[in-house]
């Protein structure tokens, strides 16, 4: 070959051309790598920060970190340390570091129903000193749909328990309702007796004007009875007042909780009734003819 090159100058030109082509190709490839690396931020100046958490679920390496919708960095590494705490290493672009100062927090956010999770930087107050490399940022999780539902259930549980306990207490044989009922019955009896007394008094006055002495005697007796009745009424009123005072402290919060729970349950049931397929299983409702009765006791007179 050397012999050919020595004797043929065209081969030397060809060799130079091939060499130039190979160098140009390698140069283009290198340029491409550099462009991609710049695009990926490999040459961007970054600062490493950290955050700690007890639970690494929904966190992963490469996860985006956003500030006001801008991508400002990513999670580089997640490590389980000896003490069981999880430490995540973040790489934040220095260009945006001016906006992330002391007092800033990191929050794990769900992006919509089906979106991926991202880490969002919540800026702190202005005028705070800048963060140094390796500093630890506070971390928190935003409640997702499942967590919200769980939280709602947890909040409703004690309310429903209270309602159940209150209902049981009220319905007990010696409970508040029974006691109040007996007091009401006594009050009703007393009022009936008082009305009867008043009626008797009026009749006596109307019909016996001429027999004033007799009427006065009767009135004395009636007044004596009336005093007894009024004493009874007074006792009953006092008892009712005591019961009401004792009940009001516990009953009012219970009733308030119960009303809120009942409203929620009513709304849920109303909404459920309109949802397919439940609405297909329910009677649509309407005006119905009373059940027929072709035989029976009747007070009907001939037409």
């Amino acid at each position: 070959m050397k012999i050919f090159a020595d004797h043929d100058s065209r081969l030397a030109v060809l060799e130079r051309k091939v060499g130039s082509f190979v160098f140009a190709g390698i140069g283009a490839l290198l340029l491409l790598f550099v462009v991609i690396a710049v695009e990926q931020g490999m040459f961007a100046s970054t600062t490493h920060l950290r955050f700690h958490t007890e639970d690494a679920s929904s966190l992963h390496e490469g996860m985006e970190i956003r500030l006001s919708g801008f991508k400002v960095g990513k999670v580089v590494k997640i490590v389980l340390m000896d003490d069981g705490v999880i430490e995540a290493d973040l790489s934040v672009n220095n260009e945006y570091l001016a906006h992330i100062r002391h007092g800033a927090r990191l929050r794990l956010v769900e992006q919509g129903l089906l979106g991926d999770n991202i880490l969002e930087v919540v800026s702190g107050a202005r005028g705070q000193p800048a963060l140094a490399a390796g500093e630890v940022l506070p971390f928190e999780r935003q409640l997702g749909m499942a967590a919200l539902a769980h939280d709602l259930v947890e909040r409703l549980k004690p309310v429903l328990d209270n309602v159940t306990a209150a209902t049981a207490a009220i319905n007990q044989p010696d409970g508040l309702l029974q006691h109040a009922t007996s007091v009401a019955v006594q009050a009703e009896k007393a009022s009936v007796a008082a009305i009867e007394l008043m009626r008797q008094t009026r009749d006596a006055i109307a019909t016996n004007n001429l027999k004033l002495n007799q009427v006065l005697d009767k009135t004395d007796a009636l007044l004596a009875k009336g005093d007894g009745v009024l004493d009874n009424v007074q006792n009953i009123t006092l008892e009712a007042g005591k019961i009401a005072a004792a009940a009001s402290e516990d009953l009012l919060p219970l009733m308030r909780d119960g009303r809120v729970a009942a409203d929620d349950v009513r709304n849920i049931i109303r909404s459920s009734k309109e949802v397919w397929p439940i609405r297909n299983l329910l009677d649509a409702g309407g005006e119905n003819i009373l059940p027929m009765d072709s035989y029976g006791t009747s007070h009907v007179q001939p037409k």
Binding site: S57, L113, M145, D203, V275, L290, M292, D293, G296, K303
Partner: protein, 279 residues
């Protein structure tokens, strides 16, 4: 996939399923009012509060008339007739039912007209107007064609007509047909009526064993339905059947039970009465 994302998919699936069904037809405010009044009227009727039932059904009728809702008008008038009958005002009951068969003519459902005709027949039967009762039974059967909910009731009324004419075989046959048409769950009262009628036919024919058995079945159904007046009637029939069969102790026991129920009914009525006015 992470757990929250699974939950999200589940919720999305439920939302899509919910969106699949067509939206239910929304009733206008007046229709809803008519339905509400009718339901309240039915509740008052069951409780024996006929004055309130009358008021509610009249309000329902007014709402239906304002909308010219023929089916609703028919239902309200039939129910009003039922209430008037319970209030011992057959003339008012007839007036409500006559309105359904008089101008202006509206497209009332055939089943409602059959029920109205059956009620007309019953009212006439109770006033011993046998011919008028037979006429309205014929009208009811024409509207019903044995396919409407009142078909069993029409047959039972026809059986009562036959019993009045001492045609016991025919009555027994009609009762059997009626039992076949009645829905045991929704027409328990009519089923008990059929059993009582069957017992009466057997009693009239001297078959005391069959009569007692039928009355006992009717009693069980009426006790289940919670109808004191019917329970009292069944006990009286059982007492008669036991007495006729020579079981005097049983007859006395049934009669005492009937009297006890009767006193309980009267006591309940007394409790509902307002206090006597001042002399």
């Amino acid at each position: 996939m992470s757990s929250p994302n699974k939950n999200s998919l589940l919720i999305l699936g439920c939302l899509m399923l919910a969106a699949c069904g067509a939206a239910p037809e929304k009733k206008n405010a007046l229709s809803e009012q008519a339905i509400m009044r009718s339901e309240r009227g039915a509740a008052a009727f069951v409780q024996g509060d006929y004055a309130r039932a009358l008021n509610e059904y009249q309000l329902a009728l007014r709402a239906d008339q304002a909308l010219e809702h023929a089916a609703g008008i028919a239902v309200s008038r039939i129910n009003l007739a039922r209430v008037w009958r319970e209030m011992s005002s057959p003339a008012q009951a007839h007036a409500q039912l006559d309105a359904l068969f008089s101008p202006p003519v509206l497209p009332y459902p055939a089943a409602s007209l059959a029920a109205a005709a059956a009620l007309q027949a019953r009212l006439y039967l109770e006033s011993d107007a046998v011919e008028a009762a037979a006429y309205w039974l014929g009208q009811g059967e024409t509207f019903c064609q044995k396919t409407c909910p009142a078909a069993g009731s029409l047959l039972l009324l026809r059986a009562q007509l036959a019993m009045q004419g001492k045609h016991f075989q025919e009555a027994s046959k009609l009762i059997g047909e009626a039992v076949g048409l009645l829905n045991a769950d929704q027409q328990a009262v009519e089923l008990a009526n059929a059993l009582r009628l069957s017992g009466e036919v057997a009693y009239a024919q001297g078959d005391d064993v069959h009569a007692s058995s039928s009355f006992e079945q009717a009693l069980a159904l009426d006790q289940k339905s919670g109808l004191p007046a019917k329970i009292r009637l069944d006990l009286l029939r059982l007492a008669e059947a036991a007495g006729h069969a020579g079981r005097k102790a049983d007859a006395q026991n049934f009669a005492a039970r009937a009297q006890s129920v009767s006193m309980a009914i009267d006591g309940a009525r007394q409790a509902e009465l307002p206090p006597a006015p001042a002399r």
